[in-house]
Subunit: 393 residues, 2 copies
């Protein structure tokens, strides 16, 4: 007979899910109420306004999609693109490629701007491509590439798109709550994120936000949105302001309790303080990583503090290191993905998991396990280097 | 400053979500682990095999979709249908209509078999329509219409489809765990359900199952599935047997803990016992409802035990009754939907909420509130009638 499942207690320092704040787990387990209960509707309004704070936007259409970040991406593409539309997509990792898949499945034409994995999106190439494609409806790019740890300059990319009259589509799955992000100031038209990264919430929801211009584009569509579940014309009937809160689908009630709590926590800390905390823990971690003799994939100025892609020397067994960390230290770090598979580890310092204890424990564990692999590692020196960063702060 | 949300404690006797077993809420709040953690992968295998039990199938492709039941419906349609395909859809309530929307958004042609709201699907009309449409690829119908409380004869409908060589698509959102359902014995090719009905789990996931014949149809597609997120060719890479468990999207880890626990509870009770419990509580409830002077929308032989559509006399205020039940008794019942809006209440006795206490409390509360509305109700007699059913069992 199968019995109840009791997960091991891990420290989650991979590319997400990241450690969930116990306050959020507690909120998650509160009694379920109906998705049309007045008390629930009032909570939904709070979630919307907390999300507006997190995204730094006044966009009315700022809601969580009832499915993971990949569905948030799909929501943006299926609602904004129609067959024959052209979209310029920047790819410097896995998720730019996934955008292409999404756009093409909408019958749109994807014009790609490719950069190396680990590089930032090249603004000159984007400008060149937009110049060559004056009929492009949108420019789409990933703010924080989870597969490589590279940050792209969302503000400048959005400004470029504006110059060419394009809608601006941004993947902020890993950036929201971890690094500076200003939807209104930067002129972003459509953005999606995930709950399981820097919000430290459980996986399963995707916060999205759409500008008025994007909403007009959705309302002016000639064809129906190909997805019934993700059709914002229908979803707005449930989440919208003017709406009767009419039933569309059953909202994931308890997951929304959790998202609400995670956003309350973010607001208590303050966005700027959360960004500063991510930056500081990254600096301390990076000082230790270098002392261990490991290297970063991404050039310093483009590194994401919340996702560290760390290369390791030939001869070190990727799988053995990750297995030892998991089995002996209950510590999860991420494997490389796509072009970086087998070449890097992805070490997350996201949200609740971005803290001094995790930084120091991870350096200690990595040092011990890499020594087993024959590397000449001084874990104590790495920890000292990280502590010095904290002490100097 | 927005603070933590603490929901009221409701008794959920609407069309879903239904009351969640506290064991499931506790499982939901266990520490999050990675979606590629070996411990999690092992739990996924248990979820698959427990779902096979719940569906009574040996289908290898039996998994939960990472989104609510509506996305389960969409998963079935976008994977099985290609542009130009013809599908016969039976509509006797809201969800048959939603199937049509889904089919048409896939570019498929929907041939409708319409029945009255509250009626069961008419087998003769279906046979006639299949005879007239020998090129139909699939027959789709709703086993348990949540909008009306009517059961259709899934076994006979599936047999009819087989006679005409059609794939059989079944909506089992409200039937799974509440009434007899045998995927393999009945020859169902594609089926989807929800977690928030008779499984008494939190909303947000959709269990689905596909026969080998359906999987072959998916693998033989000429066009790509229009949804990247719901493309089973990709999802199978994460959930599949032979698979490397390759990353597709981040699974909703904690919701899957909850589903696992709900399925363990179902297996502990046993499917047949769960069906019998739903039947008994319905009989007791129905005896009380009739004593209150209310009537059922659905003819007795087609009534769903887990979803009671109850009509009320002219002059009774739908909204006032539901508001009083919610505010004074913390009891949620459902409003009518679509053609039955303002004409019926939908009173659920689903899963954990299908119990004697709820039946008796609901009759008491309804009796009190209906008396306020000027009805000549004897709540005590209704409770006595229900108790007599239990006593005679």
């Amino acid at each position: 007979m199968t019995t109840s499942f009791h997960p091991p207690e891990r420290c989650l320092m991979g590319p997400g899910p990241s450690d969930v704040n116990p306050r959020i787990l507690e909120a998650l387990s509160r009694p379920t109420i109906g998705h049309l209960d007045p008390a629930f509707i009032a909570m939904m309004d709070e979630v919307k306004s907390l999300l507006q704070y997190a995204f730094q936007t006044r966009n009315e259409l700022t809601i969580p999609v009832s499915a993971p970040g990949s569905a948030g991406m799909e929501t943006v593409f299926v609602n904004l693109l129609e067959p024959g539309d052209k979209v310029v997509i920047c790819a410097n990792g896995v998720f730019g490629g996934r955008m292409k898949e999404n756009a093409e499945r909408c019958g749109a034409v994807a014009v790609m701007v490719e950069d190396e994995w680990g590089a930032t999106v090249d603004l000159d190439k984007v400008e060149q491509t937009l110049t060559e494609n004056p009929d492009a409806k949108a420019l789409a790019f990933v703010h924080a590439e989870t597969s490589t740890g590279a940050r792209s300059d969302a503000e400048s990319l959005a400004a470029l798109a504006a110059k060419f009259g394009c809608l601006v589509i941004v993947d902020a799955v890993t950036s929201l709550g971890g690094i500076e992000l200003k939807v209104d100031d930067w002129g972003i038209d459509a953005i999606y994120s995930g709950t399981q990264k820097c919000l430290s919430c459980v996986p399963g929801l995707s916060p999205v936000s759409f500008s008025e211009r994007a909403v007009e584009a959705i309302k002016a569509r000639k064809s129906k949105v190909q997805s019934w579940f993700l059709d914002l014309n229908l979803v707005m009937g449930y989440w919208g302001a003017e709406a009767k809160r009419s039933y569309h689908h059953t909202a994931p009630v308890n997951s929304l309790y959790a998202l609400h709590e995670s956003l309350v926590i973010l607001k208590e800390e303050g966005l700027e303080d959360a960004w500063a905390r991510h930056a500081l823990n990254h600096q301390a971690f990076a000082a230790g990583i270098e002392k261990l003799g490991l290297s970063f994939v991404v050039a310093e100025e483009y590194r994401l503090p919340q996702l560290n892609a760390v290369g390791f020397p030939d001869g070190v067994s990727d799988a053995a290191v990750r297995a030892a960390l998991l089995e002996e230290f209950n510590l999860e770090i991420g494997a490389g993905l796509g072009a970086l598979a087998g070449k890097v580890w992805r070490i997350g310092l996201m949200g609740y998991a971005s803290n001094q204890t995790n930084v120091l424990n991870c350096l200690t564990a990595l040092g011990a396990v890499l020594a087993d692999q024959g590397m000449d590692c001084d874990a104590a020196a790495a920890v000292a280097a990280a502590r010095a960063v904290y002490a100097g702060n």
